[in-house]
Amino acid sequence: MTDLFLVAHIAGRGVAIAAAQVDSVVDIGEIVAVPRADAVVRGLAALRSRVVTVIDTGIALGLSRTPDTMRRAVITVAEGHHYAILVDSVEDVAPFTRLPLSPGLALHGGWAAVGCGLVERDGEPLLILDLAAVVPAPGLAA
C-alpha cells in the first residue's frame, strides 16, 4: 500500500511528509515576531489574506535556529490554524510505501518526537515527519 509523500530537507536531512498533511508549499515573506512566545514560534506571516504561524523547525527538533534566509515553508493546518513549517528545500511528491521504524533505531531529541516511520527512496531511507507533532501543542510554551 502506497501513500503520497512530499520529500523535503530539514536541517540537512531528507524527510518524507505525508501529502495529506500538506496544504501547500510557499515562500513566505516578512515574518513579524511574536514577543514572549516560545522560541519555536518564529513569528507570524501573511499568506494572501491569511495569517500563518511560522514554526522554526530547527528549534522544534531541538537543533539550532533555522537561518533567516530560509523562507521556504510547508503549510499545514492543525485544529483550524495554519502553520508554516520552515524547510531547507523541497524536492517532489511521490508515492512510497510506509514502513515501520527500523528496530533498534535510536532517534534522539526532537527527531524521536516527530518521526513516525520510514520510506525508502531508491534504497535511501527517509524518516517520515509527522507535521502535527512539529506544531507546538496547546499548553506548551508560555
Partner: protein, 762 residues
C-alpha cells in the same frame, strides 16, 4: 415582523428539504430513533417559532405532532404505519401552509382536525389528502452558504492587498495624473466594497434581540405573568452566522425563563419580590468571546427536583447521582428528555429544549454556564467565540513592531512631559502619576524585550481589575480591524487576544490588556476583593429620592414615580373643593402636603406620575438619590407611608406612592392646635407645653385670627371664658372629687394625652 416571517419561511423550507430524506427513511424503519429525533426537532422548532409569530394553525398542528412523537420517544407508543402516515400528513400540511403564507394565499383548514385526529392511537387510517400546491412567490432575500461569504471575504482582503501593492509601485515612479486618478477611484471602490462585504458577515446583535420584546410580552401574557425585559448591549457586533445559530437557543432559553423561572405575580408577592419579574438579556464582548447573558429574578432551578426526575427517568443510577457535584447536578437540565416541569405546556414544552439548546451552542464552539441562586433567580451565560469580529483599535508602536489595542480598553493617552505625567520607580516597581493619580506602569518595550528606552507615551488602559499605564513608543493610528483567533502557541503567551491582517499586509497582534497586567505581575488586590463581594450577590436595589418633608421628617420615595422636582410659588397652591390643588400652567393637579408651608413664598414639589395621572407632593428639600435596602419595616396603620427603611444608619419613612395615587384623603396634616388657658403661673407653658408638643399638638395661648383649636386645656380654678373648643380640665389633687369629676390630675400624663385625643375635634 415581516423579516422574521420571511426568515421563518425560508428556514422551515430549508429544514423540510433536509428532513425529507429522513421522513422516507423513517417510513421504512419506524423504530429508528435517530430519524425520529430529527423529525421531532423539526416539529419542535416549528412550534417554537409559531408561538411568537402568532401562527395558531401551525402551532396546533406541530404541537399535536410533537405530542405523539414525544410519546413514541418515551416508549408509550409504538410507531406503526398509521402513526407514521399521520405524522407525515402533518409535516406535509406544514409545508403547504408555509407556502400559502409566503404566497399570501389562504388554505382551506376544514380537514385539519381530521389530520390531528389521525394521530390518535385508535384512529382509522385515512388516505392522505392531496391538496393543491400553492404557487411560491419570489422572495427578495436569498440564503447563502457561509463558505461562499468566507471566500468573498478573503478575496476582498486579497484585493485590498493588491491595491496597496499597486499604489506602492506607482508611488516609486513618475506617474501620469490620469493613472493616479484611476487608482484613486479604484481605492474608493475597493474601500466601499470592503465595507459592504464586511457587512454581509457582521450584524449587530440587535438583530437577535429585536424580536425579544414582542416574544416576552406574548409569552408572559399567555402565562399570566408580568415580566419586565431589559436589553443591554444591542450594539455589539456578531458574526451573522453566529446570530442565526444563536436565535433558536436564545428564544428557547427566554421562554424557559418565563415559563419555569419567573413565578406568578401571586407567588412573587408571597416571596417578597416585586410582582413584575425582571429579565435581563445582555451582550458584551470579553476578550475574544462574546458573552450573551440571560438572567431572571425568578425561583431558580430546584436542583433536588431535577435529581429526582433524573432518577425517575433512569438517566443515572442513584449512586451516580449521589456522587455528583452540585454543578453536575445542575447540568442535568441539559440531559435529553428531562424536564423539571410535571405538566406539559405549549410554551416551553417538556424540557426537550435544553438539550437541543446546548447542542446548538456547542456546535458553534460555545459554552453554556449556569449560575443558579435558588429562590433568587438564574443566570444563563452563553459564551460564544468571536470567530470573526470587527474591532475598533488603536495601533501602538514599540521598537520596530506594531500592536493593536482594543479601543474599549483605553481610557486616555498621555505624553510623558511636564509635571502632570511623571514616571517613577518605587523600589523596583515602575509607576506613573497622571494628574495626581498613581498607577502601575508597564513598559511594553521592556516586557516584550524590544527596547530598553523609557517609554515616551503612556496609554492608560482599564481592565476589570484596575487601571494601569502601558508605556509605548508611539501611538500611530486608529483602525477597524478584523480580528481572528491566533494559534494556541501564540495565545499561550497570555498577552494577546488575537491577530489581524491590516492593509499593509503585515500581520499584527492584538494585545490583551488584562493579560498584560497579569503577565507583568500587577496586583489590584483591594479592587479585586471588592469585585468578589459584588459578584456574590448583585441584586439591583430600587433607587429612591431622599428628602426632608415639610414636617421636618426625613422621607424617601421611589425614584421611578418622580417625573421631576420643581419649585412652585405657594400662591399656585389652593385649598379648593375639599382638596389641595396645585395649578401648573393650564392644568390643576392634586397636591399632597404633610406640613404647613404658608410661611414660605416658594415650596419644592415632587411631580409624581403613574404614567397616566399626575400629582404633586410638597417637600421642604430634596437631599439625594439613594438605593433602597431590601428590608422594609412595615408601617402601622394605613396612610401614605409604606414603611421604614434604614438608609445610612438613619430611619427613613418610605412614601407609598400607591396610597397617594389611590386617592388617600388629601389634607394638610398640620398638628392639631391645643389652646392653653393660662392662669399666669407659667406652669402650663413650662411644664405642659413640651409634653403636649412631643405628643403632636401645637400649643397656643391665644388663637390668632381665623385659627381654630382642636382642644382646649384649663385648670379647674381658671375655666375658659368662652367655649372655643372642647375643654379638658386639669386638677391639682391626685384623687378625683367624686364620680362625676371628669377633670384629670395634672401630672397623670397618659390620662391627659388620652383625654385630649378623645375630646378634640377631628
Amino acid at each position: 415582523m415581516d423579516d422574521l416571517l420571511q426568515e421563518f419561511i425560508a428556514e422551515t423550507r430549508e429544514t423540510l428539504e433536509a428532513i425529507s430524506g429522513e421522513i422516507v427513511a423513517w417510513e421504512l424503519a419506524p423504530a429508528d430513533g435517530a430519524r425520529l429525533d430529527a423529525i421531532f426537532r423539526f416539529v419542535h422548532t416549528v412550534k417554537g417559532s409559531c408561538g411568537f409569530l402568532d401562527l395558531p394553525r401551525l402551532a396546533r398542528l406541530s404541537h399535536a405532532a410533537e405530542d405523539v412523537l414525544a410519546a413514541v420517544r418515551d416508549g408509550n407508543r409504538t410507531p406503526d404505519t398509521a402513526l407514521v402516515n399521520a405524522v407525515l400528513g402533518i409535516v406535509d400540511r406544514i409545508a403547504q401552509i408555509v407556502d400559502a403564507i409566503d404566497a399570501g394565499a389562504t388554505l382551506d383548514d376544514s380537514d385539519e382536525h381530521a389530520l390531528i385526529a389521525a394521530l390518535a392511537p385508535d384512529a382509522q387510517p385515512t388516505a392522505p389528502a392531496a391538496a393543491a400546491p400553492v404557487g411560491r412567490s419570489a422572495s427578495r432575500s436569498v440564503r447563502l452558504n457561509v463558505d461562499l461569504l468566507d471566500h468573498m471575504m478573503s478575496g476582498m482582503s486579497d484585493m485590498v492587498l493588491a491595491r496597496n501593492e499597486l499604489a506602492r509601485q506607482l508611488r516609486d515612479g513618475d506617474v501620469d495624473p490620469k493613472v493616479e486618478a484611476a487608482l484613486e477611484r479604484l481605492s474608493l471602490t475597493v474601500a466601499d466594497m470592503r465595507d459592504t462585504v464586511t457587512r454581509t458577515r457582521m450584524q449587530k446583535v440587535d438583530a437577535l434581540f429585536s424580536a425579544l420584546p414582542r416574544m416576552v410580552r406574548d409569552t408572559s401574557a399567555e402565562l399570566c405573568k408580568a415580566v419586565n425585559l431589559v436589553i443591554e448591549g444591542a450594539d455589539v457586533e456578531l458574526d451573522r452566522e453566529m446570530i442565526e445559530l444563536m436565535r433558536d437557543p436564545l428564544v428557547h432559553i427566554i421562554r424557559n425563563c418565563i415559563d419555569h423561572g419567573i413565578e406568578t405575580p401571586m407567588a412573587r408577592r408571597a416571596a417578597g419580590k416585586p410582582e413584575t419579574g425582571r429579565l435581563v438579556v445582555s451582550a458584551r464582548q470579553s476578550g475574544n468571546q462574546i458573552l450573551i447573558e440571560v438572567s431572571d429574578d425568578g425561583q431558580g432551578i430546584d436542583v433536588a427536583r431535577i435529581v429526582a426526575k433524573a432518577a425517575e427517568k433512569k438517566l443515572h443510577t442513584p449512586t451516580e447521582l449521589v456522587a455528583m457535584s452540585e454543578t453536575s447536578r445542575l447540568q442535568l437540565i441539559f440531559a435529553p428528555g428531562l424536564s423539571s416541569r410535571d405538566t406539559v405546556t405549549a410554551t416551553s414544552g417538556r424540557g426537550v429544549g435544553m438539550d437541543v439548546v446546548r447542542a446548538n451552542i456547542e456546535q458553534i464552539g460555545g459554552r453554556v454556564v449556569l449560575v443558579n441562586t435558588p429562590g433568587r433567580g438564574l443566570r444563563i451565560i452563553i459564551n460564544v467565540p468571536l470567530t470573526l469580529s470587527i474591532l475598533s483599535t488603536i495601533i501602538v508602536g514599540v521598537g520596530t513592531q506594531r500592536f493593536a489595542l482594543p479601543r474599549q480598553a483605553i481610557e486616555e493617552i498621555v505624553m510623558v512631559r511636564g509635571d502632570q505625567v511623571r514616571p517613577d520607580m518605587i523600589g523596583d516597581a515602575a509607576t506613573a502619576t497622571v494628574r495626581g493619580k498613581r498607577m502601575p506602569l508597564v513598559s511594553l518595550g521592556d516586557l516584550f524585550k524590544l527596547t530598553k528606552d523609557a517609554p515616551p507615551t503612556l496609554v492608560i488602559v482599564s481592565t476589570r481589575e484596575g487601571d494601569y499605564a502601558l508605556g509605548v513608543d508611539t501611538v500611530l493610528d486608529t483602525e477597524e480591524l478584523v480580528v481572528k483567533p491566533a494559534s494556541p502557541a501564540v495565545m499561550a503567551t497570555g498577552v494577546y487576544a488575537g491577530m489581524t491582517l491590516p492593509d499593509n499586509g503585515l500581520p499584527m497582534l492584538l494585545l490583551d490588556a488584562s493579560g498584560i497586567a497579569a503577565v507583568a505581575g500587577l496586583r489590584f488586590a483591594p479592587v479585586a476583593a471588592a469585585d468578589a463581594v459584588t459578584l456574590e450577590e448583585v441584586v439591583p436595589g430600587i433607587p429612591a429620592l431622599l428628602f426632608d418633608d415639610l414636617d421636618g421628617q426625613r422621607r424617601a420615595i421611589a425614584l421611578a414615580v418622580i417625573d421631576r422636582v420643581e419649585p412652585v410659588s405657594t400662591e399656585a397652591i389652593r385649598w379648593s373643593a375639599g382638596a389641595m390643588r396645585l395649578s401648573v400652567g393650564d392644568a390643576i393637579i392634586p397636591l399632597y402636603a404633610v406640613g404647613d408651608f404658608a410661611s414660605r413664598r416658594e415650596v419644592a414639589v415632587l411631580r409624581l406620575t403613574d404614567g397616566e395621572s399626575e400629582m404633586a407632593y410638597a417637600i421642604a428639600e430634596a437631599i439625594e438619590i439613594v438605593e433602597l435596602p431590601f428590608e422594609i419595616a412595615p408601617a402601622r396603620g394605613s396612610g401614605p407611608i409604606a414603611g421604614v427603611v434604614l438608609i445610612a444608619g438613619e430611619q427613613v419613612e418610605l412614601i407609598d406612592p400607591h396610597a397617594l395615587f389611590s386617592g388617600q384623603p388629601v389634607m394638610i396634616a398640620s398638628p392639631p392646635v391645643c389652646l392653653l388657658q393660662v392662669d399666669g403661673s407659667g406652669w402650663m407653658e413650662t411644664f405642659l407645653k413640651p409634653a403636649l408638643e412631643a405628643s403632636g399638638y401645637r400649643c397656643v395661648t391665644s388663637l390668632s385670627k381665623g385659627e381654630t383649636a382642636a382642644v382646649a386645656l384649663a385648670m379647674e380654678d381658671a375655666p375658659p371664658c368662652e367655649a372655643l373648643a372642647p375643654v379638658v380640665t386639669l386638677r391639682r389633687a391626685i384623687s378625683a372629687d367624686g364620680a362625676n369629676d371628669a377633670s384629670i390630675y395634672r401630672y397623670d400624663r397618659p390620662a391627659l394625652i388620652a383625654a385630649l385625643a378623645a375630646r378634640r375635634t377631628i
